[in-house]
């Protein structure tokens, strides 16, 4: 595959996914080529390679996944053992910055030339000279490390003051710290400090069997359970050369769309709630509850936890179940259309939604805004549309987009995606092929790796997997789109009033646990 007319020696790994090795020095050139072609950086992570005898000269590696015109390019660069370093990519792709800082905290790999090299995921759980994802790090609960402070960027001047919020928030949301610098009611600067829910998920994968890994992957961010589990299983199956039965592929698509509908219904309710329209909350959450209960009845779990497994799926659907799901999808579609008419006509709601929390298309493109928030700012990427894998290659997904990039645009994309997913669900129910639910996995013959790529409800989810020669997990990196989108929230709130922050935040609804890992 060529990127921007140049050959980077990338070989096909799976449909729409390419794999290659570059030298660290070539990474910035590659990044610029991707950027010039209109692509984006999706993920950046590192790995310890020192235990892989005979796998080349590298002792550490830095990995990057780029979305390009030809698909997803996963490139790795081997790094020196004594001074593991690679050139900064955030000058080309600003979204690399926090990923680079996390890669240093976890593995001690330095992004040379980066403007911001403050710690990111490390708070006080381990010391500055310890790196949890190195294989020689003891993963036990050790003594607490000495606390070193975090230097926030201060805004000074007459009339400026700070509002620190969190990590414990006033509502039922995840923990994180927001430092507002304000003048009057207007936000002059917002700085986020995340990493509070860091659970050491990546370390927990190490040495686990493949089935247990699927359960861990699904709990990286619980609201994207099916997306993470599917991406993980896709990576494992790719690494092992496993074939997944067709019926299982279609059921995975069904589960992913069910998850998308559930999350969008919940968010649309909360968006109403945040502008004092509790009617919206009650109506959408009534529908969401009906949806979840049907999932429990049909598949045994309200959020479909652990229904996607390596090799296939662990739940089936009979004919009466198909009819019930089709019937409910029709009813919910009708009711959401009624509720959309009310949202459309509701003056207070429209006044609060429109022109609030704007991320303009040019800025969204420069900073790599992705997923549903990206689509609301004219970033027209959806893996189900441009790079469809089974079953989406047979479904003709329609992409929802907007241009204004405000709260209203993000709500509109959600409405459109609810309708489209309900349509897709009925299409899947119509076309669901017969056959097995799962196939046994081949046994690993040596170290192998794979990359799963799934368009979750929030955006694209990647899971990179390396399986050791003993068939157990050696390194797993799950990537949530919240990595790219959190920095845009800092910018989207600028010039808005503080009371609009909860609304803007909810319109993105980013995952803390998904980026804290």
């Amino acid at each position: 595959m060529k990127i921007n007319g140049l050959d980077w020696n990338l070989a096909p790994l799976a449909e729409h996914i390419w794999r290659g090795e570059v030298t660290p020095d070539a990474l910035p050139d590659l990044a610029r080529a991707v950027k010039e072609e209109g692509g984006q950086l999706v993920a950046l992570w590192g790995s310890d390679e020192r235990h892989l005898a005979g796998q080349g000269s590298g002792c550490f590696a830095v990995h990057a996944a780029f979305i390009t015109a030809g698909g997803l390019a996963w490139v790795s660069a081997a790094l020196d053992a004594k001074q593991p370093a690679y050139p900064d990519l955030s000058a080309t792709f600003p979204q690399a910055e926090r990923m680079q800082r996390a890669t240093y905290d976890l593995l001690g790999l330095t992004a040379e030339g980066a403007v911001d090299s403050r710690k990111w995921l490390r708070h006080k759980a381990w010391a500055a000279d310890e790196f949890p994802l190195r294989k020689d790090f003891a993963a036990s609960a050790g003594d607490p490390a000495p606390v070193d402070g975090y230097p926030f960027i201060r805004v000074e001047g007459e009339g400026v003051h700070e509002i620190p919020v969190g990590p414990i928030h006033a509502g039922t949301i995840e923990p994180g710290h927001f430092r507002f610098s304000i003048i009057g009611d207007r936000i002059l600067k917002l700085e986020q400090r995340l990493g509070y829910t860091h659970q050491g998920v990546e370390k927990r994968f190490e040495g686990r069997d493949l089935a247990t890994g699927a359960k861990l992957a699904g709990r990286v961010s619980g609201d994207s359970h099916s997306a993470f589990t599917w991406a993980y299983c896709m990576a494992v199956e790719q690494a092992l050369g496993a074939r997944v039965p067709e019926r299982a592929q279609w059921l995975r698509g069904l589960f992913l769309e069910i998850e998308r509908v559930a999350n969008h219904l919940g968010d649309l309710g909360y968006l109403g709630n945040d502008v004092a329209l509790s009617f919206g909350f009650m109506q959408f959450w009534r529908l969401k509850e009906d949806w979840l209960r049907l999932c429990r009845d049909l598949f045994g779990h309200r959020y479909l936890f652990d229904r996607i497994v390596p090799g296939g799926v662990a739940a089936d659907l009979d004919d009466p179940g198909r009819r019930r799901l089709a019937d409910l999808s029709h009813r919910i579609e009708g009711e959401v259309r009624e509720l959309k008419a009310i949202y459309d006509e509701h003056a207070t709601l429209q006044d609060r939604f429109a022109n609030t929390g704007i991320c303009k298309p040019a800025l969204a493109a420069r900073l790599g805004l992705t997923g549903l928030a990206g689509r609301a700012s004219a970033q027209a990427w959806d893996a189900r549309v441009q790079f469809p894998q089974a079953p989406y290659d047979r479904l003709e997904v329609n992409m929802a987009t907007g241009r204004k990039g405000d709260v209203l645009a993000r709500a509109e994309v959600r409405f459109a995606e609810v309708f489209e997913s309900l349509r897709l669900i009925r299409a899947i129910l119509d076309k669901l092929p017969n056959g097995d639910l799962a196939a046994p996995l081949p046994v690993a013959d040596g170290v192998c790796q794979g990359l799963g790529w799934v368009e979750g409800w929030r955006g694209e989810i990647l899971v990179a997997v390396r399986i050791a020669a003993d068939g157990r997990l050696d390194r797993v990196h799950p990537h949530d789109p919240s990595w790219q989108n959190w920095p845009l929230l800092e910018i989207g709130v600028l010039g808005n009033i503080v009371p609009d922050f909860p609304l803007i935040n909810k319109s993105f609804n980013l995952s803390y646990s998904g980026q804290d890992l």
Partner: protein
């Protein structure tokens, strides 16, 4: 006209709230010595502060759900509040990440006595498969009771709304069926 459509939808929907589940005394982990006094002071009304001590956000989905119309939690006298200083009960999800250990302890200390703590979910309770997967490690203190005293543990990944309500009611009522 939005008001017309809105009222029409409200009347068409009707009341969907369901009867409350029965309190489950089996979920209690320690005797609540102040229980009689609490019941005297608060009756059956209780204010809750949710604290995410490091969960995957799966449990939070069900906390949102019990605020929905079918469960009508406010109709039972249970209300979520914004500050720990205003509440009787902390509903904690987790495991407790080391990065939140201090914040959780401070939240506990800021909650006035008498108070209850309900640990929600397998990770918070340190049970089940998820609890095993998310035990203590370099980044995590493990279950909630490793960090603050816990009255009731509600297992599940995530616990269903019924189980969560039963756990909250068990803490509040001491097992007496509502």
């Amino acid at each position: 006209m939005a008001t017309h459509l809105l009222l029409q939808k409200i009347f068409k929907t009707g009341i969907v709230s369901e009867p409350a589940p029965v309190a489950d005394p089996a979920l209690r982990t320690r005797e609540q010595e102040l229980q009689a006094e609490i019941l005297k002071v608060f009756g059956q009304a209780v204010a809750i502060r949710h604290v995410d001590a490091g969960s995957c956000n799966g449990c939070e989905l069900e906390i949102h759900a019990i605020n929905g119309p079918q469960y009508n939690i406010e109709g039972m006298g249970v209300k979520f509040a914004a500050s720990p200083r205003h509440v009787d009960l902390l509903l904690v999800t987790g495991p407790v990440s080391r990065n939140l250990e201090t914040a959780l302890k401070r939240t506990y200390d800021a909650t006035p006595e008498p108070k209850w703590v309900v640990a929600m979910g397998d990770c918070a309770a340190g049970c089940g498969e998820a609890g095993g997967l998310f035990g203590a490690n370099y980044a995590s203190c493990g279950k909630i009771s490793n960090v603050i005293p816990v009255d009731v543990e509600v297992p599940g990944c995530p616990p269903t709304p019924e189980a969560l309500l039963a756990g909250i009611l068990a803490a509040v009522s001491g097992g007496r069926a509502g």
